[in-house]
């Protein structure tokens, strides 16, 4: 006899005899689907005991687990909401900053443009002034060169004339003329009456 058969027999010993047929093939249930009533009752009690034990001893920890889980999920949801709000705030700030940057860019561009125009205008004025000054200087220079050339020419003419005068005078003075000149001076000085005075008296 197998162990199963032995167990079936032991259980059968405890159970009422009418609900089992014991033959040479072992214990055979009276109904092919439902077990006997006492077995259902016994198993129901056992199940209830198990459920109670689970409820009694595992319930709090399960409850706590779910409670913690709920809190965690809630926290994560709150954090998500907060992160979303922060992200939206950041996005808003970035959008604002972008707006500011754009405004600032426009302002800088505007200032740079104004400054460039100012520099350009100033440069034009300066260039115009310099051009006028250069023109005036060139005109003065030309006038000066013309004047200098004229002066040099006059000086040169005067030099040549002076040299020519000396040469002509020296060449034209012979002994008789020298004597005549000396006699003229003597005559003029002799004709002067009374003491002459001061520098540069000329006969």
């Amino acid at each position: 006899m197998s162990a199963v058969s032995t167990l079936q027999l032991a259980i059968a010993g405890l159970a009422p005899q009418v609900e089992f047929d014991v033959d040479d093939r072992g214990v055979t249930a009276a109904h092919p689907i439902f077990p006997p009533i006492w077995e259902i009752a016994l198993q129901t009690v056992a199940f209830a005991a198990i459920v109670y034990a689970i409820y009694k001893f595992g319930g709090p920890s399960i409850k706590k687990y779910y409670s913690d889980r709920t809190e965690r999920i809630q926290r994560e949801m709150d954090e998500g909401v907060a992160a979303k709000a922060a992200a939206e705030s950041e996005a808003l700030r970035i959008r604002t900053s972008l707006g500011d940057i754009e405004t600032e860019r426009q302002q800088i561009l505007s200032e740079a443009r104004a400054q460039a125009e100012g520099v350009l205008a100033e440069g034009r004025i300066r260039l115009d002034d310099e051009a006028v000054e250069l023109e005036a200087r060139a005109t003065d220079e030309i006038a000066s060169i013309v004047g200098r050339s004229g002066d040099e020419l006059r000086a040169q003419i005067t030099r040549h004339t002076n040299a020519s005068i000396d040469q002509v005078v020296v060449q034209s003075l012979d002994d008789s003329l020298h004597q005549q000149l000396i006699e003229d001076v003597i005559a003029r000085v002799g004709a002067a009456t009374g003491p002459a005075s001061g520098n540069g008296a000329s006969a």
Binding site: T158, T161, N162, I165, D166, V169, V170, L173, D175, L177, H178, Q179, L181, I182, E183, D184, V185, I186, A187, R188, V189, G190, A192, T193, G194, P195, A196, S197, G198, N199, G200, A201, S202, A203
Partner: protein, 178 residues
């Protein structure tokens, strides 16, 4: 020609004056020294040579003697040699002028320096002397300097008075006008 205030020059002039007067050749010495001074004044080569201390004094004195030779009195040559030999060549003109001043003053005369392009005849000198005396009221000791730069006529200087009858003055006026 102005009177000097340098005591050394006056000292030399007085010494030369006394020697020439004692020798009885004051007029000649005075005239020769004056002429030599004018030559010295106008010749840079002569000035450089006679005042060059690197040339021995004896050699410079020999140059003076060679230059004057027999055209000057021995007293003039000796006095000039003495001045050159004592290293006073640079003061030669001032010494000669001081001597002329002193000699003229001794004769109660004013020095009249006359620059002329050509030499004046003795007659012209006499008449010029008289003419200057008439014009200035001073008796003058005429000192003639032949100066070609005058071109023609003459320039007479008596103290502060200048009588300019030179062609040079006329030419200069003409040049200034040009």
């Amino acid at each position: 020609m102005s009177a000097t205030t340098d005591p050394r020059i006056d000292g030399y002039a007085r010494a030369l004056f006394e020697v020439a007067r004692a020798d009885g050749t004051l007029d000649e010495v005075e005239d020769e020294l004056f002429r030599f001074a004018r030559s010295y004044e106008s010749s840079e080569a002569l000035r450089t040579t006679l005042s060059d201390e690197d040339i021995p004094a004896a050699k410079r004195q020999a140059i003076v003697e060679d230059l004057l030779g027999e055209t000057a009195t021995p007293t003039t040559v000796q006095l000039l040699s003495m001045v050159i030999g004592s290293g006073r060549a640079s003061d030669l003109v001032a010494i000669a002028d001081a001597l002329v001043q002193r000699a003229s003053a001794a004769k109660q005369l004013e020095v009249a320096q006359v620059r002329s392009a050509v030499e004046l005849t003795p007659d012209q000198q006499d008449r010029l002397r008289a003419a200057i005396a008439n014009a200035t009221g001073k008796q003058v000791n005429l000192k003639i300097v032949v100066d070609p730069s005058v071109l023609g006529g003459l320039v007479a200087t008596v103290g502060d008075i200048v009588i300019d009858g030179s062609v040079r003055a006329t030419v200069e006026q003409l040049k200034a006008r040009l």
